[in-house]
Symmetry: C2
Subunit: 222 residues, 2 copies
DNA sequence: TCGAATAAATTGTCCTACAATCTTCAATTG
DNA sequence: CAATTGAAGATTGTAGGACAATTTATTCGA
């Protein structure tokens, strides 16, 4: 009886829609890390039977957002600082590859777009608009990865990003780190504009590692 | 009468076992890329109902071994040379990270093991024993990734390796390329032994890119 | 032989059922 | 009173039947 909103299927299968919705709920924080996810509750929420629900959960498991414990159910994954650090290392290398690839193939239009993001972030910093900064920041990163023309890379990178969202060290971006961060963005984009793969690769990797260190420092780690 | 199979069920769920078995069948080539996978056939093969089968297939889909087409079923994924090349690029960067991490933390015992692999491969080349070379080669790569102490890295790397196995360009290793390849292994291992992260990183990346180029050349591409 | 009509097979989903296991919570015991 | 036990109750894991929607195979007619 509930949720008639999921009538848009036909293109995507029901488990896929359910998967996306559960993912959305997890990433939005409605389900917190460690929370148990109840199948019956989901059948009520979506108005489907357990079959599609269980299929969706299987899919989510391989994406690293939930953990399945036999006979006990599925739980929203809980990331340790250690695990977050490991993800950052992998992310740095993937992002470095994205930067290198983009530097080798970026069009003038793409470069203009990239510069637009950086300028927008400069504006956001000047206006002390953290929300806007974060939005533009995410858009820049996503743009770079999406335009590197390597779907495998994009898929693995996005998977890591999602997992990192489980690690809410509630690190409120300080104006200070926004400035540092955007200086790094500037170097990344200029390296791409210069069509210098090595420089771009280094800049992209340095940027993620720098973000990692900022986060770890924030969390009181090394 | 505790059969081993029942014991396995304690630790791993039925869909997981099914998933592993299907994966084994795919990687062994029994199911070829493009083949359709029939649910009913699988229920007969495994003696289970469709539920666990479908769950296993969902899991396999996110691992990139199969593709799901709505209302048509699941098919063993078919990789284009282009896609294989993309996977190689990502693999190169992940492997570079593995090399770097291992160079920073390898124990004397680990280094000895690594040298053992390289020596074994030299022997295999001398004996023109391709099978043994391939076995040791796989073991070396796996060892490096497993001992880099980054589970996220290991998991993504292994996922790529599995996908690459779908791309059977039947590139029979030539003695020639075995020699080149093992020279690269030597440099990788010595860089690790020297605890030189930058050198190890470069050597590992170069090795994978070199393998990529050998494969692409074999396949008649650039 | 070709194409259309028909039959068969397959997927996607729901439902009910039930054993195995986990969780809860109250009664019992030390 | 705290800790333990143990019986309900809940939940997961799996089976199996059912059926609409869709795809694939087959047959038949032109």
């Amino acid at each position: 009886m509930p949720t008639p909103e999921i009538e848009l299927l036909k293109s995507r299968s029901l488990p896929m829609l359910i998967e996306e919705e559960i993912q959305r709920v997890i990433l939005s924080g409605q389900y917190a890390p460690g929370d148990r996810i109840n199948e019956k509750e989901l059948t009520l929420r979506f108005g489907t039977s357990r079959g599609p629900i269980r299929e969706a959960l299987r899919s989510l498991e391989s994406s690293g957002l939930i953990e399945q414990i036999p006979n006990r159910g599925v739980f929203v994954r809980r990331l340790t600082p250690q695990q977050a650090a490991e993800i950052y290392d992998v992310r740095a290398f993937l992002f470095a590859l994205a930067g290198r690839l983009l530097a080798m193939r970026a069009s003038e239009a793409e470069i203009a777009t990239l510069r637009g993001f950086v300028t927008a972030m400069d504006d956001a910093i000047a206006a002390d608009d953290t929300d806007r900064y974060l939005r533009e920041n995410f858009a820049l990163h996503e743009f770079i990865v999406a335009h590197a023309a390597n779907p495998v890379l994009a898929s693995q990178y996005l998977s890591l990003i999602k997992q990192l969202q489980l690690y809410r060290a509630r690190n409120l971006m300080l104006v200070d780190s926004m400035q540092v961060s955007n200086r790094e963005h500037h170097e990344m984009v200029e390296a791409i504009a210069a069509r210098d793969p090595d420089r771009a690769q280094a800049a992209h990797m340095a940027h993620v590692m720098s973000a990692k260190h900022r986060l770890m420092a924030n969390a009181g780690l090394s």
